[in-house]
C-alpha cells in the first residue's frame, strides 16, 4: 500500500482503505480497497496477510472493472415469456424484491412440503463465500442436491479425493521454502490460478531463484512450464503411465525408497491375501503384518514398524500373504520406460533420468532442524492438478503421481509435497480452530478437516435407492456429479429408483450452460425444471433460462467471516502464519442489489424454516456455546458472521474487531506444518478398499444393466485410457483439451474489459494452440480460421495459434470463452467455447469417482469461405 500524504489530507468526506478479500477467483487473496467519496478507486494486496502477501494477480487488480461494470444487474427480473430456449426472448420485467421473494418462497414451501429433494442448488466455485451459506441452506431445507457447477465437475473429483486420502487436504503443493526438485503433472501451482494463488506465486518465484529445479509434465508449455527448468511434453491424459514408470525405475531399478517411512506411515507392510484383501487378525480384525523378528504375522498395532516386512511371501492361517509393497513392486514392473514411451511419447531415457533425479534429490534418510525441532527432510515433491484431473482415470492419475512422494517419504515433511494445512492446533487464546488427522481401525488416515462432511475416506457403503440426483449414494467416491445435467440422467434415475424428479433450481452465479459441457445437452436438463431462480451479477447465458433473476452484490459489497477457511483450501501451505481474514463491504449495494446470504435467510423466514437454517449454521460453522444460534431467531448474516468470529476467537473479537483489523494471524508451529511424523496415521499405497467398493457398486448397478469396469477398482493404480485414446477414426488425430488461463476465471471474467484487453494481447487466450509442425503437415497456417470437430459432430470454430510449445498431438484451448449472450457484451463472441465439444453422459464419466472426461479426439479443418 502506498498512502501518500496528499491522499490522506485531501479534503474529501471519505478517504479510506478497508481490509477485505478479493473474489475474482476462489484464491480469495486479502486486499486493501481504497474508497474515496464512496467510490472504490483502487484495490491492492494486503501485505499484512499471509493470503496473497500483498500481491494481487491481474484479475484481482482488474476487479474494479467487474464491480463497476455498467451491465451489472440492479433490479430483480421476472420473465414474461413462459417459453424457454436459446432463441426465446425471456421478456424480462422488473419486479420488486417482495414480489420476487414471495414467489420464490411459495415454490420453496410447496416443494419442502412435498419432497425437499426436488430442490437443486448450484453455486459457482469462483465465489468461495457462497459455499457455507449454500451448504447451510440446503441442509436446512432438506435437499442433498447441491452442486458446484462446472468448476466442481471439471476440477476436483480426483484431485481433492486423492489429496484428502493421502495428505488430509483439499490439494497439494511443493514446500516451496525447502523443496529442491518439484515435478508438476498438469499443474500450475505457484504460476497461475489455483489455491493460495498469489502467495504461491511469490513462494514459487523465490524457490526458483533459490535454485529449486522445476520439471513440468504437460502437453502444453504454458504458465508453469514456461518458467520451469524443464518441460516434458506428453500425450494428453497419460500422466499415470509416466508416474508409474518413474515409480518402477525407483523401486525396481534404482531400489531407492524410504523403508522406515513406508513401514511406519503407509500400509506398505500390510499382508495381502490372494483375494487382494488384507489378511486380518481373526480376533481383532486388524490388518496383519509380518514381524521379521518373531517370524510371525501379527496385527499392525502390535509390531514396531521397523520390524515389519516389506518384501517376501508368508503363509498365514493357511493362505499366502505378501506385503502390499511387494505387490506394488511387482505391479510396477509392467510400466517399463520402453512400454511407457509408447503410451506417453516421453522417451524411455528421459523417464529413467527423471526418476533418478527425483529419487536422489529426495535424500532419503536425511533430517533437518527447524526451530529446534528435528524433522525428516525430503526436498522433492510430485504434484498434480487440473491437467491430469481432466480425465476419466483421474483417480489413478493422481494416485500414481502421489506414489512418487510416498515411495521416498516426501509427504508433509520438510521440503516435500505438502497438503494445505491439514493439522491446526488453533489460535493460542482459544485453541480454535483445532483439527488433526486421525486413524481409522485399519490405521489409515481420516482427514481432520474437509470442505463439507462428505469425507474422502473412509468411503460410505453404496446404497439403493439413490437419494441423490447425482447418484453419489451409489458411486460413493463421487463428489460433483455429471448426472444433474447428463443426456442419460432420466435413464440413470430410473435404473437407480430415484423416487422423485428435480423441480426447482436455485443457481448462484454459475453459468451452467457454458461450464458443464455441450450447451444443448445442458439446456435440455435445465428446461426440465419447473422453476429456476438465479442470483447473478450479469445476465448470463444461463440466467436467460431462469424465471426470476436476482441482482447479486459483488465482493466489494459483501461480508464473509471466513474468506480463507477451511485452511485446507486456500491458506498457503508451509511455514509462516495461520491467517484468518474476512471480507467486509467496502461500498453499499447499487440499485436494488442484495447479498446472497441475506436473501437466503429471508427466504428461510418466508418459507418457514428459519430454525432449521439456524441449526444448519451451527453445524456448518461449528459454532460453540454461547455463540450458537438459537431457535428461529431472525439473525442477519452480519450477526451470524459475528457469532462465527467470536466463537472461534473470543468474545472481544467479533465482526467489528475484524472489520478494523481485517484478519487475525498467529505463527504456525513446525509440528503443525510438518505434522506427518507427529500424527500416528498411515496412508494407503495399496487401496485395498477399492476392490470391495467396486463389487458392492457392481452388485447394485449390474442387475440394472450398468456394467462396472473392474479395472477402475483395483487396489494398485494403472493407466487407463479415456474414450479419446480409443478413437482411431481417420482424420481425428488431435487430443483437444482446455486449460485454465491465468488471466481468466472460468467464464466470468471474460466480461471484464481490462482482462479482455489482456486476453486479446495474449497469443493464446482466445485462440486454438496447435503444434507448428503438425499445422504445417496439414497445410494450416497461424491465424487460420478452423473447425474443431468431434466424432459426435460437435464442433467449434476458432483461430489457430501455432507454436512449438505444445505436444504434436495436443490441441489447447484456453479457459471458458465463446459467450454468445447479450448480457455480457464485452465477453460476447470472444474466444473458443471448448465445452461445446464435451459429451455429458455415463460413457464419459468415471465409474469410480464420476469424473467427467474433458479430453476429446478431434478433427481440425480449415473453415471454407462463407462457412
Amino acid at each position: 500500500m502506498n498512502i501518500i500524504e496528499s491522499d490522506v489530507t485531501r479534503a474529501t468526506a471519505d478517504d479510506t482503505w478497508l481490509k477485505s478479500s478479493c473474489s475474482l477467483c476462489y484464491g480469495t487473496c486479502s486486499i486493501l480497497a481504497h474508497r474515496v467519496d464512496g467510490v472504490v478507486i483502487k484495490v491492492e494486496g494486503n501485505p499484512d496477510s499471509a493470503v496473497g502477501k500483498g500481491r494481487l494477480c491481474g484479475k484481482g487488480v482488474g476487479g474494479l472493472m467487474t464491480h463497476y461494470d455498467p451491465h451489472r444487474l440492479r433490479v430483480p427480473l421476472h420473465r414474461t415469456n413462459p417459453r424457454k430456449g436459446f432463441n426465446e426472448d425471456p421478456g424480462w420485467k422488473q419486479i420488486s424484491w417482495d414480489e420476487a421473494l414471495d414467489e420464490i418462497a411459495a415454490h420453496l414451501r410447496r416443494i419442502r412440503a412435498e419432497d425437499p429433494r426436488k430442490l437443486v442448488v448450484q453455486r459457482t466455485t469462483t465465489v468461495t463465500a457462497s459455499r457455507a451459506p449454500s451448504q447451510a441452506f440446503v441442509a436446512a431445507f432438506g435437499t442433498p442436491n447441491f452442486s458446484t457447477a462446472g468448476g466442481g465437475l471439471h476440477c476436483g473429483n480426483g484431485a481433492h479425493v486423492i489429496s484428502g486420502v493421502m495428505h488430509a487436504s483439499w490439494s497439494v503443493v511443493p514446500d516451496f521454502e525447502y523443496c529442491n526438485y518439484a515435478i508438476y503433472f498438469g499443474a500450475s501451482k505457484g504460476h497461475a490460478a489455483g489455491h493460495a494463488s498469489c502467495s504461491n506465486m511469490g513462494k514459487a518465484a523465490d524457490a526458483r531463484f533459490r535454485g529449486m529445479k522445476m520439471v513440468v509434465v504437460d502437453p502444453f508449455c504454458n504458465f508453469a512450464a514456461a518458467k520451469a527448468t524443464e518441460w516434458v511434453p506428453l500425450r494428453v491424459g497419460t500422466d499415470a503411465a509416466l508416474a508409474l514408470a518413474m515409480c518402477n525405475v525407483m523401486v525396481n531399478e534404482l531400489k531407492i525408497y524410504d523403508t522406515p517411512y513406508l513401514q511406519a506411515k503407509t500400509n506398505a507392510p500390510y499382508l495381502i491375501g490372494p483375494d487382494q484383501l488384507y489378511i486380518r487378525d481373526p480376533k481383532t480384525q486388524a490388518p496383519l503384518v509380518w514381524d521379521q523378528e518373531s517370524g510371525t504375522a501379527r496385527p499392525f498395532t502390535a509390531v514396531p514398524s521397523a520390524r515389519m516386512a516389506l518384501r517376501g511371501s508368508f503363509t498365514v492361517n493357511g493362505v499366502v500373504g505378501r506385503p502390499a509393497f511387494a505387490l506394488l513392486g511387482e505391479h510396477l514392473k509392467k510400466y517399463t520406460p520402453e512400454r511407457t514411451e509408447e503410451i506417453t511419447t516421453v522417451p524411455a531415457a528421459n523417464i529413467r533420468r527423471l526418476a533418478g533425479e527425483f529419487a536422489r534429490e529426495a535424500r532419503v534418510g536425511s533430517t533437518i532442524v527447524i526451530d529446534g525441532v528435528t524433522l525428516p527432510y525430503r526436498p522433492v515433491a510430485a504434484i498434480a492438478f487440473r491437467g491430469s484431473q481432466g480425465h476419466m482415470n483421474s483417480v489413478y492419475n493422481f494416485l500414481a503421481v502421489d506414489l512418487l512422494n510416498q515411495l521416498v517419504g516426501a509427504a508433509d515433511v520438510v521440503g516435500s509435497c505438502l497438503g494445505f494445512n491439514p493439522t491446526c492446533y488453533g489460535h493460542p487464546d482459544t485453541k480454535l480452530p483445532y483439527y488433526v488427522p486421525k486413524a481409522d481401525a485399519d490405521g489409515l488416515m481420516v482427514t481432520g478437516m474437509w470442505m463439507g462432511y462428505h469425507y474422502p475416506y473412509p468411503t460410505n457403503k453404496p446404497r439403493m435407492p439413490s437419494k441423490q440426483l447425482g447418484l453419489q449414494d451409489v458411486f460413493t467416491m463421487g463428489m460433483t456429479s455429471p448426472f444433474l445435467n447428463s443426456t442419460d440422467q432420466e435413464m440413470l434415475w430410473e435404473k437407480f429408483d430415484v423416487p422423485y424428479r428435480p423441480e426447482m433450481l436455485i443457481n448462484y452465479g454459475a453459468n451452467l450452460l457454458m461450464s458443464i459441457g455441450n450447451k444443448d445437452v445442458v439446456a435440455e436438463s435445465l428446461l426440465k425444471y419447473k422453476f429456476i431462480v438465479s442470483f447473478d451479477l450479469f445476465l448470463t447465458e444461463t440466467s436467460v433460462l431462469a424465471d426470476i433473476v436476482l441482482p447479486d452484490c459483488s465482493y466489494l459489497q459483501s461480508v464473509d467471516s471466513r474468506s480463507n477457511f477451511p485452511f485446507i483450501f486456500s491458506l498457503p501451505a508451509g511455514l509462516g502464519e495461520w491467517c484468518w481474514p474476512i471480507r467486509q463491504a467496502v461500498v453499499p449495494p447499487d440499485g436494488e442489489q442484495r447479498r446472497y446470504a441475506d436473501v437466503l435467510l429471508e427466504l428461510a423466514d418466508r418459507a418457514g424454516f428459519r430454525a432449521d437454517l439456524n441449526a444448519a449454521y451451527n453445524a456448518t460453522y461449528d459454532l460453540q456455546s454461547p455463540f450458537r444460534l438459537e431457535g428461529d431467531r431472525k439473525y442477519s448474516f452480519d450477526e451470524i458472521c459475528d457469532a462465527d468470529l467470536r466463537s472461534h476467537f473470543g468474545q472481544e473479537r467479533g465482526l467489528d474487531w475484524f472489520k478494523q483489523h481485517g484478519l487475525i494471524k498467529w505463527p504456525k508451529k513446525p509440528e503443525e506444518v510438518y505434522w506427518r511424523p507427529f500424527v500416528d496415521v498411515r496412508v494407503p499405497i495399496y487401496w485395498e478398499f477399492l476392490k470391495p467398493l467396486g463389487e458392492q457398486i457392481a452388485a447394485i448397478t449390474e442387475p440394472r444393466g450398468l456394467k462396472i469396469p473392474r479395472h477402475y477398482y483395483q487396489p494398485l493404480p494403472d493407466w487407463i485410457g479415456c474414450p479419446s485414446h480409443a478413437c482411431d477414426a481417420p482424420g481425428f488425430d488431435f487430443y483437444a483439451f482446455y486449460y485454465r488461463d491465468i488471466i481468466h476465471t472460468n467464464s466470468f471474467t471474460m466480461e471484464n474489459p481490462w482482462l479482455d484487453e489482456a486476453a486479446r494481447l495474449d497469443p493464446f487466450s482466445y485462440t486454438i494452440a496447435m503444434n507448428r509442425a503438425s499445422a504445417e503437415k496439414r497445410g494450416l497456417k497461424h491465424g487460420a480460421l478452423v473447425w474443431v470437430e468431434t466424432e459426435k459432430r460437435r464442433k467449434v470454430k476458432g483461430r489457430l495459434a501455432v507454436t512449438e510449445g505444445i505436444h504434436p498431438e495436443g490441441l489447447g484451448i484456453a479457459a471458458l470463452a465463446g459467450h454468445w449472450g447479450d448480457g455480457m457484451p464485452i465477453a460476447k463472441g470472444k474466444g473458443v467455447f471448448f465445452n461445446e465439444l464435451l459429451e455429458v453422459d455415463w460413457e464419459h464419466s468415471s465409474p469410480v469417482n464420476l469424473n467427467l472426461d474433458l479430453c476429446v479426439k478431434v478433427r481440425v479443418t480449415a473453415v471454407e469461405t462463407g462457412q
Partner: protein, 132 residues
Amino acid sequence: MSATLRLPTADARSRPLLTAELVDGTEPGSNAIVPDRVIRVWLFGILSRFTTERPLILHLPATATFGEAIDTLAHRLGGQFAELVLQEPRKTFSHCRIFADGKHVENLNEAFERTTSASNIEMILVMAAEGG
C-alpha cells in the same frame, strides 16, 4: 438396513417428563447417578419430516450413550430415518451432525453427562458434497 436397537423400558416411556429443574438440583461434579434421563431431540432439515414434534422427547436409562439415543430414535421414527442417519449399526454418516447440549458428538459410545438428567440433542444432515 438393520440396526441393533436398545429400547427404553416400557416403564421409562410411561413416566412423566423429567424437567430441566432436576438438572439444577444435581451437584456439579458429583458422581451421583441420576435415575432416568430425558432427551429432547431437535431434528432439522430433512430429518424434521419424520416427526411433527420438535422437540421430540425420549426417556432413556441414566447411563445411556449417544448411540443408544440414536438407536431409540431410529426405532421410534422408522427405517427410512435410520437409513438416512446410520451407515451401519452404531455408526452415523459423517454428514450427520449431532450435537448434545451444544457440543459436537464424536463418539456414539460415549455416555451423556452423568451429572445431568436432561439433555438436548440436535441433529441435521449436512450432505452437500463440495467440489471445485
